[in-house]
């Protein structure tokens, strides 16, 4: 397909949060001189009822099963409830309980450890995407295979690695067979090893999607700029450092924010299956304490309060990361 010479449509404010405004590409099917698409039209008279009708189901479901529970949850955070009797308003008592609980701080520390691993979870897919960018033989196969872990459930991944890394499992057996028996250990039961192993497992589970996203971003890097740099004598590393990486900054920002949110919202099932929070409390993250407060201790108020704290944390960190990218101009 012959590409028309690069013609960017007049910059319309692309509203896609996380990516910033980007020039909208002309669709290849339109003639080069087509007039600007109007982004939105004022609601015409005959369209009104449809706008309402189209939005209604989404809004109703959202309000019933998300908004109301959220409001209830926040209310519950300021109450004491055991699940049977009526909730009792207790003000900030739950938050006080939480902030005086050493387990809370352990859980928080563990969450922060995973947060600190975020750069790893962003850079690794980027590197893979860069390696695949030069389209080595079979790159489509690689891309497919790298996405496979994302298709698996947390239960599957958890049980798989639990089996693999158990004391009598395949990994240790291989180590013993090749004479490195000293290295054989209970990978998942040693507090120091287990966090690192988990970070690796999480990376394995998630890098496929990141690779895909970065590959897409990389193929949109300005070819002319890269070629100009090459012609000017830049080495491959230099081209990447000064042209390619800066060009994919917005995508890196988007993906980092995404990973950060995942760190606080989606790690629980996997960790629950693999270690159950242990050994001891070494992999106990905040979500565990929500569960335990609610279902073991019967303190639903405290559980909700923990949840509120978690949300506030995610929000602040996500915003911080988002703006952290914006101001880091080289």
């Amino acid at each position: 397909m012959v590409k028309a010479p690069q013609q960017h449509a007049p910059r319309t404010a692309s509203m896609h949060p996380g990516l910033g405004g980007r020039p909208v590409r002309q669709r290849e099917t339109l003639p080069a001189g087509a007039r600007t698409r109007s982004k939105y039209t004022r609601l015409q008279r005959h369209e009104w009822p449809y706008a309402v009708m189209f939005l209604a189901p989404a809004v109703i479901l959202f309000v019933t099963f998300e908004l109301i529970p959220i409001v209830q949850g926040v209310k519950l955070a300021f109450s004491s409830w055991d699940g049977f009797n009526a909730p009792v308003f207790v003000g900030l008592k739950n938050f006080g309980t939480i902030l005086h609980d050493p387990v809370f701080y352990t859980a928080l520390k563990n969450n922060l450890v995973f947060l600190a691993a975020t750069p790893l979870w962003v850079v690794f897919p980027l590197i893979i995407a860069l390696l695949l960018q030069s389209r080595p033989r079979g790159w489509r196969v690689y891309r497919f295979l790298f996405m496979l872990p994302t298709v698996l459930s947390a239960v599957f991944t958890g049980i798989y690695f639990k089996t693999l890394l158990s004391y009598d499992g395949p990994v240790n057996q291989v180590l013993r067979d090749i004479g490195l028996g000293n290295f054989a250990r209970g990978w998942l039961v040693e507090p120091n090893a287990v966090l690192i192993i988990l970070i690796g497992i999480i990376m394995w589970s998630t890098f496929g999607v990141g690779t895909l996203v970065f590959m897409a971003a990389l193929s949109n890097v300005d070819v002319e700029l890269q070629e100009a740099a090459l012609i000017d004598g830049a080495s491959k590393i230099q081209v990447h450092r000064y042209v390619t990486i800066p060009s994919v900054r917005p995508t890196m920002q988007f993906w980092t924010v995404n990973v950060v949110i995942v760190t606080f919202t989606s790690l629980f099932p996997l960790i629950y299956v693999i270690t159950g929070g242990g050994p001891g409390y070494s992999t106990y993250i905040l979500e565990f304490s929500v569960y335990e407060s609610a279902f073991s201790a019967g303190k639903f108020g405290v559980a909700s309060a923990t949840g509120v704290i978690m949300f506030v944390l995610v929000f602040i960190i996500a915003i911080a990361v988002f703006f952290g990218f914006k101001h880091r101009e080289d």
């Binding site: 692309s14 509203m15 990516l19 980007r22 669709r27 698409r37 109007s38 982004k39 939105y40 005959h46 449809y50 706008a51 189209f54 939005l55 189901p57 989404a58 479901l61 959202f62 099963f65 998300e66 109301i68 209830q72 893979i128 030069s134 080595p136 196969v141 690689y142 891309r143 295979l145 996405m147 698996l152 459930s153 947390a154 239960v155 599957f156 798989y160 693999l164 395949p170 057996q173 394995w204 496929g208 996203v213 070819v223 890269q226 070629e227 090459l230 491959k236 949110i261 919202t265 299956v273 929500v290 569960y291 559980a303 909700s304 923990t306 949840g307 509120v308 978690m310 949300f311 929000f315």
Partner: protein, 285 residues
Amino acid sequence: MSADSSYREKALAPRGIPAIMTKIFLVIVALSTLYPFIFLTSTALKSRDEYASNVLGPPEHLTTANFDYVWNELGVGLYVQNTAIVVLASVALILGVACPAGFALARFRFPLRQALLITLVSAMMIPVAVILIPEFQQVVNLGLLDKRVGLVLVYTSLNTPFAVFLMTAFFRGVDNNIVEAAYLDGASVLRTFLSIVVPLVRSGILTLATLTFISLWNEFLLSLLLLPSESQRTLTVGLAKLTSQYKIDITLLAAGLMVAALPPLIAFIVFQRFIVSGLSEGATK
């Protein structure tokens, strides 16, 4: 590929030793993603006794008894049924709700538009743990506990923000002139939407459907909470319970896991190209 991109790709490709190292690295990573399937399929096809002596090698006496046993005796057949009903219904409902909403948000300019979008984005950031307990309360209040319908509604509601967000992005790519032309030709809004606009975002819809299917099929926490009884249980919960209940032997577990992993895998393979193009489009918008 035009001549431009081949030059860049060839020029930036690693040569010599780095090239070999790159190849090796990619192969190792690829093998690591493939291995679970190899290991668990081979384990599932072994008898318990054979596994005891032969952990790593291929099965010497193939047996499908494990699959049979988990499906019938251990209830996996039932779990598959429950999961299929819940997930397929949810995906259908999500599409039915998110497409019109996305279209409305993409096309119409109305007072609350911005507020709605911001609410959607924030809703996507809420950890499930936060919402779990009041969600449970709400479901109980509506008399929907332990009913698959209840889980379907919850799944739909919680996935709506992301789905609407995605569909809005896809619908934005539709040229408004086409819609206007349809109106001029006398088509109603509904007709335009269904017959003209929706087919244009077909690949986006398929992407959303596939991704949602996979993620709901693998969902654990909510189905654990909202479908407590054995007869309504879904796959992920069922398998997790099997692990902890009694020292279930790994060959049976492997069989169960492979059965559970098959539908998302097939869905992914079949709709792979849509996901790739869908995600690529989304990342560049």
